[in-house]
Amino acid sequence: MTARRPLTALRSWRPFLGYAAGLVAGVAAWQLIGLNSASFVFVPLTTTLSSLGRLISGGTMPGALASSFSVYAAGEALAIVAGAAVGLLLARRPLLRTAFEPYLTALYAIPMVALIPFLLALVGLGFWPKVIVVWLFAFFPVEFSTQRGAQSISPELLDVARSYRTSERQTWRHVVIPYTLPYLMTGVRQALARGLVGMIAAEFFLSAGGLGSLLITQSEQFDTGGMLATTLVITLAGVILMAAGRAVERRFARWRVTS
């Protein structure tokens, strides 16, 4: 039976080897392709990392991150508040829902990037236009999820509340909001991802400052090392936000009422 042990030991290493192989292959490919390409086409990983170091120490990257993050945070916060409010409102007031739901669904179908030129003409450049773009990207998933959640409250829960003569405000506090929170968090998770797309797209057009604008500048200067470094930072931001969104959604998923 001792002959079995080496084999089982190897098998438990297999997942790690899988991940490691992928990482090593990627790093090797990056390095090799970079070394064999013209510097304005592709640069090796080492050059990318030194570009990143240069951007950070020179203050460019922290400045861009601060600008981007402030736009993103403002847009997301406003979108989540507005989306939750509208979603709850439409769920609890059937007349408003019947009246406005088709138009909201129609707006949801619009690719928001196509609205960016209109916004540019309407409100110009600067901080708030970018916030509006992020808001437009992030609002609809939050509204949709919240409304769907609040609409799915089973009538029995509301009947129990009513039989205890709960006021409207208490019904909201004790029934509607706790029930809807998991759905809201699903919407927030989607909004975090979409808002990031909006932020980058807005920064391409609506004034300097921010990671998207940095990318455009670097592309005009053919600073491919810098572009790859910036893309790496953006990817990291995306991964972190997606993980945060999933974590928040999971935390509140326990509150979901399953019939």
């Binding site: 899988g18 304005f40 030129p117 209109f118 990031l196 797309v197 932020m199 592309s219 953006i234």
Partner: protein
């Protein structure tokens, strides 16, 4: 209809209605009420838009009456349709390429755990990042050409397809492969006959996402690279203070998106009547 008034039932074709009102005539009345409420709300929105635009905004801001006035001009314009066709073609081409490559990659990832683990880092990273951030890099590589737009569309569309198909492959019930093994089915039979059809619901979910993302990618690529297309048409007209025309193009863009998704769901209903949306569970 009042059940207490005998004889009244005859003028409700299809069946009588109760006191509470759930017969066909009542349903028709309700539908009419819903339509009236929606039409009133829509009219209100449009009117508010028109009034606010006329009173507060500069003359070049889009407004409903202006948009309607420009519809014949835009739809009759040859260059508009060449732009629309350019975008449509790029998105369609990119979607087809993305679905083919994405399904293959997704199936491999879904069924071969080692490959899944090796590629997971890259698929997850690319899926989590805003892919529009790659567009400046792609314009350095491909120039301000439609090749850049096509690559953007392919990458944008491929990710959700890979993601969904891989998930489908991973969720394949073990009983299916057990039966195949019991019947000593060759590996290509298993893949083509079991894995692929079982992943179809996931694939279709991925395609639905891919259509939206592909459109976003195409539009942003056209913005940045000034390529002939609907996105650039919108940008150009807004910059030329012809926002009403740009709005007409936007509506066409949205209808195009809805049409493609409608086409996919029609295809599913016609060719795959056994399909049920299980992937959304």
């Amino acid at each position: 209809m009042n059940a207490l008034a005998p004889g009244r039932d005859t003028d409700t074709p299809g069946g009588p209605a109760g006191i509470g009102g759930s017969g066909p005539a009542d349903r028709r009345r309700e539908r009419g009420q819903v339509l009236a409420v929606r039409a009133a709300a829509g009219l209100g929105i449009v009117a508010a838009w028109q009034v606010c635009a006329m009173a507060l905004a500069p003359h070049y801001i889009a407004r409903p009456l202006g948009i309607l006035a420009q519809v014949p001009a835009v739809l009759g314009n040859q260059s508009f349709w060449s732009a629309a066709g350019s975008t449509l073609l790029a998105v369609a081409e990119g979607l087809i390429i993305a679905v083919v490559i994405g399904t293959a990659a997704g199936l491999v990832m879904g069924r071969l755990r080692d490959v899944d683990r090796a590629m997971r880092l890259y698929v997850d990273s690319f899926y989590a990042m805003p892919l529009v951030a790659l567009i400046p890099l792609l314009t350095v590589w491909f120039g301000y050409t439609s090749a850049a737009r096509l690559v953007v569309v392919v990458i944008e569309a491929m990710l959700p397809v890979i993601f969904s198909v891989a998930e489908g492959g991973r969720s394949l019930p073990a009983e299916f492969t057990d039966v195949a093994r019991a019947y000593r089915a060759p590996w290509w039979r298993v893949w083509a006959g079991i894995v692929l059809p079982a992943s179809l619901p996931y694939l279709l979910g991925g395609i639905d996402l891919a259509i939206g993302r592909a459109l976003v990618g195409a539009v942003v690529a056209e913005f940045i690279a000034s390529l002939n297309g609907l996105g650039y048409y919108i940008l150009f007209n807004v910059r030329s203070f012809a926002e009403d025309k740009a709005m007409v193009a936007l509506v066409v863009l949205v209808m195009f998106a809805l049409a493609v998704r409608g086409f996919v769901s029609l295809f599913v209903r016609r060719r795959l009547p056994w399909y049920r949306d299980e992937a959304s569970r």
